[in-house]
Amino acid sequence: MSTPVDLKAQIKQLIVENLMLQFGVEQITDDQPLFGPGSLGLDSVDALQLVVALDKNYGLKIPDPEAARTTLQSVDTIAAAVEAHLRK
């Protein structure tokens, strides 16, 4: 099972690869907002792709936009959701 640090690194890799970002994982900090002002600059289409990628890679289902807003705030919040899901 991944340690939290490994998991966050995996999630950053997943973000960069699935969203075809033009920068590396080292540019993403754990608590950096993914959306909105001062964020990584992701948009709703990126969110859609992240939802699909998290389901495919971890089986984590994000059922509605409200859950997506809560879960996809940062790498920290995504990692927490994935960990909680994997513990079930």
Binding site: V45, L48, Q49, V52, A53, D55, K56
Partner: protein, 243 residues
């Protein structure tokens, strides 16, 4: 040779079968799933003739759960889905003043809701693949809105708008979404016209003939092919020159 996995709804009808034939002829590696609902005899014949590359699957397009089940089955067999053709449709013409609410609802449900549910069902797989082709069957009625077709014309106009809006949403993920708008095509629907109605219809068509199912299928197959990667959000009229 690339294998493509194609799902066509409303595949028991002449148009759906012509599309299936077009995709089967495109490549011997293609697999075509024929979505059917109440009737399936023609689709069964097609699947029997092309056993191994063509399968019939029950799919009531108005039921989201049926869509989820169908897509799960296809993904279990192939681990991908490359093309969705939302072809299932129905019409029941009446003047609005006397149209029963259920007549409105049924036509909108199959034509528009069914297209929405279908797109929603295949998108996760296509997003994951970063590739996909969706072709929605609209109609010339969406553009001309003839009298007696408020339900059908509104539903098909909705299909065009859905197509254009969704095309923008998924364009950068490698998924294209297009619509075709056939005019009069020689199918079961046209066979229900009287001789006089057929004559009047022909007079409106500059080419003076009805379209053939294979001619619609060719356009659908093109919009779904790899070479059509830069075409998205289009609504292609195929009508022998009516405008």
């Amino acid at each position: 040779m690339n294998s493509r996995i194609i799902l066509i709804t409303g595949a028991n009808g002449a148009l759906g079968r012509a599309m299936a034939r077009a995709f089967l002829d495109e490549s011997p590696a293609n697999h075509v799933w024929l979505g059917v609902n109440r009737r399936r005899e023609h689709a069964d014949e097609l699947a029997t003739a092309d056993a191994g590359r063509c399968r019939v699957i029950g799919l009531d397009v108005t039921k989201p759960a049926a869509w989820q089940q169908a897509v799960l089955e296809i993904l279990a067999a192939h681990q991908r889905i490359d093309v969705l053709v939302n072809n299932a449709g129905t019409h029941e013409d009446a003047l609005l003043a006397t149209m029963k609410p259920e007549t409105w609802r049924d036509v909108v449900s199959v034509n528009l809701d069914g297209t929405f549910y279908g797109c929603q069902a295949v998108l996760p797989a296509m997003i994951s693949q970063r590739n996909g082709r969706i072709v929605n069957l609209a109609s010339l009625s969406a553009l001309l809105a003839p009298a007696g077709q408020t339900n059908y014309a509104a539903a098909k106009a909705g299909v065009v708008a859905l197509t254009q809006s969704l095309a923008k949403e998924v364009a950068r993920i490698g998924i294209t979404v297009n619509a075709v708008c056939p005019g009069y095509v020689d199918t079961e629907a046209l066979a229900s016209l009287s001789d006089d109605e057929r004559k009047r219809a022909l007079e409106r068509i500059p080419m003076r003939r009805f379209g053939r199912p294979a001619e619609i299928a060719t356009a659908v197959r093109f919009l779904a092919c790899a070479d059509a990667a830069y075409i998205t959000g289009s609504a292609l009229k195929i009508d022998g020159g009516i405008f």
